[in-house]
């Protein structure tokens, strides 16, 4: 029996889609059978981040409306046999799908996959309600900025009100240099304010931009972000992985600092 995980944030542009793509690819690397669902109907993006935009024939709305068989709409990843994407419809809106239909779909997929990962749209309206309907577990993404943390707090309240207990936090785009000089909240500061469990901290890394340009998630490569995402994947599977030292690779100065 698989697990349904929703990736959500409230605020847009904090890295939900990037996280979904990397989490899915990383779990596939760990030999899990994974399906990613883009629930952002009308503004789909997970397909381009995954580099699968040219293979779309059917989408989420087609599946729900019965225009195709479920497995016809699932796009197999370029590299991983055990990774699939169910893209959102681009020419429809959020009301094309109901929370009940989403729950039915994820319940069915649970029979076949280890992980069903839902990329939630920004906001707290219908799209959010659809995305959380069948979720067993929620990962809340935020950046260390007041606007994103505030929205994350609102989302955490809404998740708990909808019986999705113990959401976990990923703090994205951390800048160790800014944190060190007191101009950015650390992951610990954000955890202190939101009072939920920290699942991962991802540094602001230019390699993410390059990976998105290429449509190839960087999880598991040698970059700091790649390592951070791989650690998150392993923690999702229940492994106890220590947090990455984001100050690593700081050269001689960093070497002295650590003594």
């Amino acid at each position: 029996m698989g697990e349904v995980i929703v990736i959500t944030s409230g605020k847009g542009g904090v890295g939900k889609t990037t996280t979904t793509a990397n989490l899915g690819t990383g779990l596939a690397k760990l030999n899990k059978k994974v399906v990613l669902i883009d629930t952002d109907i009308g503004l789909r993006n997970l397909d381009v981040v995954m580099g699968l935009e040219n293979r779309i024939v059917y989408n989420l709305v087609d599946v729900v409306e019965g225009n195709c068989k479920r497995n016809q709409a699932l796009i197999k990843d370029k590299k991983y046999e055990n990774l699939f994407l169910l893209p959102a419809a681009q020419t429809r809106d959020k009301t094309s799908v109901t929370p009940e239909q989403m729950k039915k779909l994820t319940d069915e997929l649970k029979e076949e996959f280890d992980y069903i990962i839902l990329d939630c749209p920004a906001g707290i309206e219908q799209g959010f309600k659809n995305a959380i309907a069948g979720a067993d577990r929620a990962l809340v993404i935020t950046t260390p900025e007041v606007s994103a943390v505030r929205d994350a707090d609102r989302i955490i309240g809404l998740l708990e009100a909808n019986e999705i207990k113990n959401p976990q936090l990923i703090v994205n785009r951390l800048r160790p240099d800014l944190i060190r000089r007191g101009d950015m909240m650390s992951a610990a500061d954000v955890v202190d304010i939101l009072a939920i469990e920290l699942l991962g901290q991802v540094p602001d890394d230019e390699n993410i931009v390059i990976a998105t340009n290429n449509g190839e998630p960087l999880v598991g490569d040698n970059s700091l972000a790649g390592q951070a995402y791989m650690n998150i994947c392993r923690r999702v599977t229940g492994e106890n992985v220590p947090f990455l030292d984001l100050e690593a690779k700081k050269g001689l100065f960093g070497w002295f600092r650590k003594r």
Binding site: P144, V146, R150, R154, R181, M185, D189, D192
Partner: protein
Amino acid sequence: MKITDIFKRKSSSDVAKDRLRLVLVSDRASCSPDLMERIRSDIIEVLSKYAEIDKDGIDINFTQMDTESGSGKTVPALYANIPIRNMNHNTKPGQSAP
């Protein structure tokens, strides 16, 4: 960074944390604008039986208040500032004002 910055007490990340803590207190305690409006109109209706109220000067809101125990904990509180123009002294119990 200027020399004077060294003597500043708070870093911008501390300012961010303090501001967030405050804004989340009111976010978490407050209710929907619709419910707020219903509470407001009900309070006005009840008070109007007994007094003439300056409806434009009314301020009703949820805030945080320190608990009486002085433990530093706060609880949500309903704050209402309602200016009264005149009392309706002739209102009898069980009878609404004209």
